[in-house]
């Protein structure tokens, strides 16, 4: 076979779709514009922000350092506290929700027990209950027990993740063969040891996915902490920045210096999850499809 024959054979196999790639390029620009805007404008001083320079390009002076300094010292450095709170809510709530979902999904998938079908139907129904509709009732309920305005008011509702249970159920059902569990039983292993040593390692992709989804939804949560917390030292970063933003918008003239730290604060607050997603791509890219393949 000649070289030219090879080339003509290969060409139709790997078309490059220039037009589609250009379209993708435009889409990427659209999806990245907000990030670009905060990166650029996080570097500006108040004067640079309102000085009439280009909104999509850097001002003459790059002010990252002094803006950073201001961001982390404003109101006694409460911003760092908010970041830590967000991380704490996301990890405690996310890990807790994942542990519960993994165990329950396994129980539903691998055991026959009285009331199983009925409880699973209720679980599926509950996926359709909007979580925000629960916020106000939960707040009133918590206030009866005096736990509003504590970290538990944010963490406890986060533990509820019916969709996570559903995902774990589907994955466990397909990925863990019953024969393997029976073989382990014949070998005399206890039920919990089987779960821990046989099933769990096989569930890793689904566990990472459910964990990531739980952590993200609790890191991004706004309505729940906004309703539950009144002490601003307990705020997660979303509620904190929302608060600053309200203050800065309310007093147009006095708020100008606040805007530069709000912008930089927005930028800093998205960095942890962006890094998490970029570094964990291997896991979530496959895992996110669990609920939709059958």
């Amino acid at each position: 076979m000649t070289a030219s024959a090879l080339r003509t054979q290969r060409r139709p196999r790997r078309p490059r779709y220039i037009a589609l790639q250009v379209l993708l390029g435009f889409l990427v620009v659209y999806f990245l514009v907000p990030f670009w805007w905060v990166i650029v404008n996080g570097s500006k001083s108040a004067a640079g922000l309102f000085g009439g320079g280009s909104a999509l390009w850097f001002a003459d002076t790059i002010n990252y350092l002094s803006n950073f300094g201001e961001l982390f010292t404003y109101q006694d450095g409460i911003y760092a506290r908010w970041l830590l709170n967000s991380a704490m809510y996301a990890f405690v709530g996310g890990i807790g929700a994942t542990v519960l979902a993994v165990a329950a999904g396994y129980g539903f998938a691998k055991y026959q027990f009285g009331g199983r079908r009925a409880s699973f139907a209720i679980l599926l129904g509950s996926v359709m209950v909007p979580t925000t509709a629960l916020v106000i009732p939960t707040f009133i309920l918590f206030s009866q027990f005096g736990i509003t305005n504590t970290i538990w008011a944010v963490i406890l509702p986060t533990l509820l993740n019916p969709f996570g249970v559903y995902l774990m159920h589907v994955y466990t059902r397909d990925a863990v063969p019953d024969e393997l569990l029976d073989a382990a039983r014949v070998d005399g292993a206890g039920e919990f040891r089987i779960f821990y040593q046989v099933a769990l390692p096989m569930l890793r992709p689904a566990i990472v996915t459910v964990l990531l989804l739980s952590v993200v939804s609790s890191w991004n949560n706004y309505f729940l902490p906004l309703a539950m917390l009144s002490d601003n030292r307990l705020y997660p970063v979303t509620v904190g920045i929302g608060l600053w933003q309200g203050i800065a918008s309310a007093n147009n003239s006095g708020g100008t210096s606040l805007w530069s730290i709000i912008i930089l604060g927005s930028l800093v607050s998205v960095i942890p999850l962006v890094i998490a997603f970029l570094s964990l791509q291997r896991y979530w890219q496959g895992g996110l499809s669990i609920g939709s393949l059958k």
């Binding site: 805007w37 055991y111 359709m128 106000i136 509820l160 499809s289 939709s292």
Partner: protein, 310 residues
């Protein structure tokens, strides 16, 4: 004679039953921790909200049992009804738009496999990692007259920039934010579903003379229907409980977004600004019921093609 014969059978029966019961207890003990959270964080608040919603607290006369009084009030309250009307309209425009964008991009990415395409996939997904609050704020900045680029960009063509924070355009401003935030996530779900399709089907179709469009319409889209139904349900649940974005933009878009803009915002205002817990609970419960019924009906209609409930 009978006893001697029967005994081993009974024994086997009881031991099998005992094993089944043990299995049953083990099964429940895996589910129990979640079940407790489920009852405490979902069932209890819902029942409590239902209970509270049956009362009214008045300045004079204290708390009174009014049965469905709050619900009659809610479903004749222009604030609540306007909110429902807004989210219904918003869903009707948003969901088809979001589906079209995410499906279109997923199909492109399924076809184009260059390095740049892989990079685009990641970048288009990225907004999912951004809190809705921050996403709304970033777009709020971009829309803003004081520091957004719109005036500058449109100025090049001698035009005045559109003000997406104004009363007339806030609908589109919000539409853009939510599409930006979620299209990438939905795209990844659809993309993963497309990757799960057996490629020999495409070969077979090509041999039968099908072109790329026919493959897309007749093979790819029908085969990922379950994933499409799933994201539709997600989008529907998410949009009907709209809260974060309009709540954040309220300040930046002074005057365009009222405190009762969406049902959830109205419930929040009733409960926290006016301390009207009974009415706030009624609105929350009514909203939850509306969403549940909507989504359930939808699932029922698409049941045959979807996989979620079947």
């Amino acid at each position: 004679m009978t006893t001697q014969l029967a005994r081993p059978i009974v024994d086997r029966h009881t031991s099998a039953r005992r094993a089944a019961r043990r299995r049953s207890i083990t099964g429940w003990s895996f589910v129990a921790p979640f079940a407790i959270v489920f009852i405490a964080m979902l069932v209890a608040p819902l029942l409590y909200a239902l209970y509270l919603s049956l009362f009214q607290t008045k300045m004079i006369g204290g708390t009174q049992f009014v049965l469905l009084g709050n619900y009659f009030k809610a479903f004749t309250d222009p604030s609540f009804l306007d909110g429902i009307w807004f989210v219904a309209r918003f869903s009707l425009v948003l969901i088809p738009l979001q589906m079209a964008v995410s499906l279109g991009v997923a199909l492109i990415l399924d076809l184009v496999t260059t390095k740049f395409a892989r990079f685009s996939r990641l970048m288009i997904f990225l907004p999912y990692a951004i809190p809705a609050v921050i996403g709304a704020l970033m777009w709020g900045f971009l829309y803003s007259k004081s520091f957004g680029p719109l005036a500058e960009l449109f100025g090049v063509f001698g035009l005045a920039g559109p003000d997406f924070l104004s009363r007339d355009l806030i609908f589109f401003g919000l539409l853009n934010i939510v599409t930006w935030q979620w299209a990438g996530y939905y795209m990844i779900i659809l993309f993963a579903a497309l990757q799960g399709v057996d490629p020999t089907l495409y070969e077979a179709a090509r041999i039968d003379g099908a072109n790329q469009w026919q493959i897309v319409w007749r093979i790819k889209i029908p085969l990922i229907a379950p994933a499409l139904v799933l994201i539709l349900v997600f989008a529907l649940i998410g949009t009907l409980q709209f809260f974060n974005e309009p709540q954040i933009l309220r300040y930046l878009a002074a005057g365009s977004i009222s405190a009762d803009f969406t049902p959830n915002m109205y419930a929040y205002q009733q409960a926290f600004a006016l301390a009207n817990y009974n009415y706030g609970s009624a609105i929350s419960f009514a909203l939850g019921a509306v969403v549940f019924v909507f989504v359930y009906l939808f699932m029922f209609i698409t049941r045959k093609r979807g996989s979620f409930l079947s």
